[in-house]
């Protein structure tokens, strides 16, 4: 019996080098980062939100669609309150919240209405992310509400966010690294709107294929 076969392979035999050393980087800057590293690359303007949150009975909500940077804002704000609990709520999670002066809650809409009301009763002040405006129910719960809509970002701001990611991955401070030009950011905005996560997804592939340090 003869067995015929067809092969498709993307395996490479080149000798191993340190990851992304050819770009003077340690890793693909647009891959997934752990939370503490995302914090280091956050480019957000919090203005006087930390001061406001110190006032008891304040609720700060970051409102936007997926991939716009709500969590990044919340993480950056949490940096000013490292002793306060930060809870990331996933679909169907039923976390137990302790009574505390300030709570940080990421993706609060994953809690039921009942669970949210219970949380409000246990929190002096609260900072949260949500896809939809919760100011009505927060006001009803007795909070003074500050809403931050993460809306359309300028080309310069997006460029700063993306280039901060690249700088964070830098291997040797004395050598250059690739830079994302404003023209590239504009074309990304045309393709992805204000969805930064989608832009990062596309840039990941570009950096995988980048062979030398150059402007992207």
């Amino acid at each position: 019996m003869s067995v015929s076969s067809t092969v498709h392979s993307t395996l490479h035999t080149a000798s191993l080098r340190l990851a992304f050393a050819h770009l003077n980087l340690r890793f693909n800057p647009f891959g997934e980062l752990p939370r503490h590293q995302r914090l280091l690359t956050a480019v957000v303007e919090l203005d006087d939100l930390p001061r406001q949150l110190h006032i008891a009975g304040t609720a700060i909500q970051f409102v936007a669609d997926h991939g716009r940077g709500k969590s990044t804002h919340l993480i950056a704000l949490h940096r000013c309150f490292p002793d306060s609990p930060y809870t990331q709520i996933h679909h169907r999670d039923k976390p137990r919240f302790l009574s505390t002066n300030i709570q940080f809650v990421d993706s609060i809409e994953n809690l039921s209405r009942f669970a949210r009301n219970r949380l409000y009763k246990r929190s002096g002040s609260i900072a949260l992310t949500t896809h939809r405006d919760l100011s009505m129910e927060l006001t009803r719960a007795g909070y003074r509400v500050i809403s931050r809509e993460i809306a359309q970002l300028s080309t310069d701001r997006i460029s700063a966010i993306l280039n901060a990611r690249i700088r964070h991955a830098r291997r040797n401070d004395a050598l250059p690294i690739p830079v994302i030009s404003n023209a590239t950011v504009k074309s990304l905005q045309d393709a992805c709107g204000s969805n930064i996560r989608e832009m990062e997804y596309r840039l990941y592939d570009i950096f995988q294929d980048l062979r030398e340090i150059s402007d992207v």
């Binding site: 392979s9 890793f27 679909h91």
Partner: protein, 334 residues
């Protein structure tokens, strides 16, 4: 405020080590004023980076010093045996790297830390065999799910029952939305149920299909033999029998509802084991073929959100009848 700097120096500029090598390094500490150190810790760990969430594991954690440093330079030589994987890996969605990280725990101060990456490759050294007797004995290398299938079928049946119930209410109330909602539930259950019983249906005609892979654990560059046999219970027309060997990276990013799985196929090789043929009842069919894991192929790597796996998918395509399809995982070891 005193200044405390830490850094690690490896004994090889290339930063490349092979399995079986010894990695020698020196941790350098430089302080300009007396400094109390709760502990100076060196970690040897692997970590992933790429599209998926980061997975990592500390393989060794060594406390090098506790106490007070007087101003000056200190050196702490350390040697590690590079005796286990995973190997350094460069892929599309997944990279696996090794690092040494040193951190000085200084009270009431930001802990000085430094890290250095290094590469672990297979090298030319003969490794002690990891294959045991069980691996070379013919046998199924996956849990036989067939015996659990009747119980698992309850899930799609529940979906179908709920869908039928909702659909009936929608139909009797003349509510198109409820009717469509119920129908979707019913169809989802039906499709899931079909895939769960597909192989059982196929075996009504094919008889029990036996697949044996020997050895059932391989190293890159090694060859395995696959035995496939069945005896049809009734006359059937086969379109073809194929086996596809493939390796894929699966990286999971995000969590909860934002969880996304990114898959990248690294290698696939399809073997045509048989073309169209007509089989009589009771006529045994036996096929034997060999496949080789490419020498440059990666080893199996399984972490929480990142995995690289080799699989062999065997597909018996029956004319006008559900096909028989089975995935066998092939562990590829160091």
């Amino acid at each position: 405020m005193s200044k405390c700097d830490v850094r690690i120096e490896l004994d090889r500029n290339s930063q490349i080590y092979s399995l079986g090598d010894k990695l020698n390094c020196e941790v350098h500490v430089s302080v300009d004023k007396p400094v109390e150190c709760n502990k100076l810790v060196l970690r040897r760990s692997w970590y992933t980076h790429g599209r998926g969430n980061v997975d990592s594991q500390d393989l060794q954690v060594i406390t090098l010093f506790k106490g007070e440093w007087q101003p000056g330079e200190y050196r702490y030589p350390v040697a590690f045996d590079i005796d286990s994987g995973p190997l350094t890996y460069r892929g599309h969605n997944i990279n696996v790297d090794w690092q040494l990280e040193v951190r000085a725990d200084i009270p009431w101060s930001i802990d000085p830390r430094s890290s250095v990456d290094f590469i672990v490759e297979r090298g030319d050294a003969e490794l002690p065999t990891q294959l045991d007797e069980e691996d070379t004995a013919p046998g199924q290398n996956a849990i036989d799910m067939d015996k659990y299938r009747p119980y698992l079928l309850i899930v799609p049946l529940i979906f179908m029952s709920i869908g039928a119930g909702i659909g009936f209410f929608g139909w009797s109330d003349n509510d198109p939305f409820t009717l469509i909602f119920g129908s979707i539930f019913f169809l989802a259950g039906l499709i899931a149920g079909f895939f769960m019983i597909r192989n059982s249906l196929a075996q009504r005609k094919l008889g029990k299909v036996n697949v044996r892979i020997t050895p059932n654990r391989l190293r890159p560059g090694e060859e395995a033999v696959v035995y496939l046999d069945f005896t049809p219970r009734s006359p059937i027309d086969l379109k073809h029998i194929t086996a596809k060997l493939y390796a894929a990276e699966k990286a999971v990013s995000g969590s909860g509802t934002n969880r996304t799985t990114h898959t990248h196929t690294l290698y696939s090789e399809t073997y045509e084991l048989s073309g169209p043929m007509t089989l009589a009842e009771g006529m045994p069919v036996q096929r034997k073929f060999r496949f080789t894991i490419p020498p440059e192929g990666p080893c199996t790597f399984i972490a929480a959100d990142n995995r690289i796996e080799w699989k062999l998918e065997i597909h018996i395509d029956i004319d006008n009848w559900p096909d028989w399809v089975k995935d066998e995982t092939i562990p590829v070891v160091l």
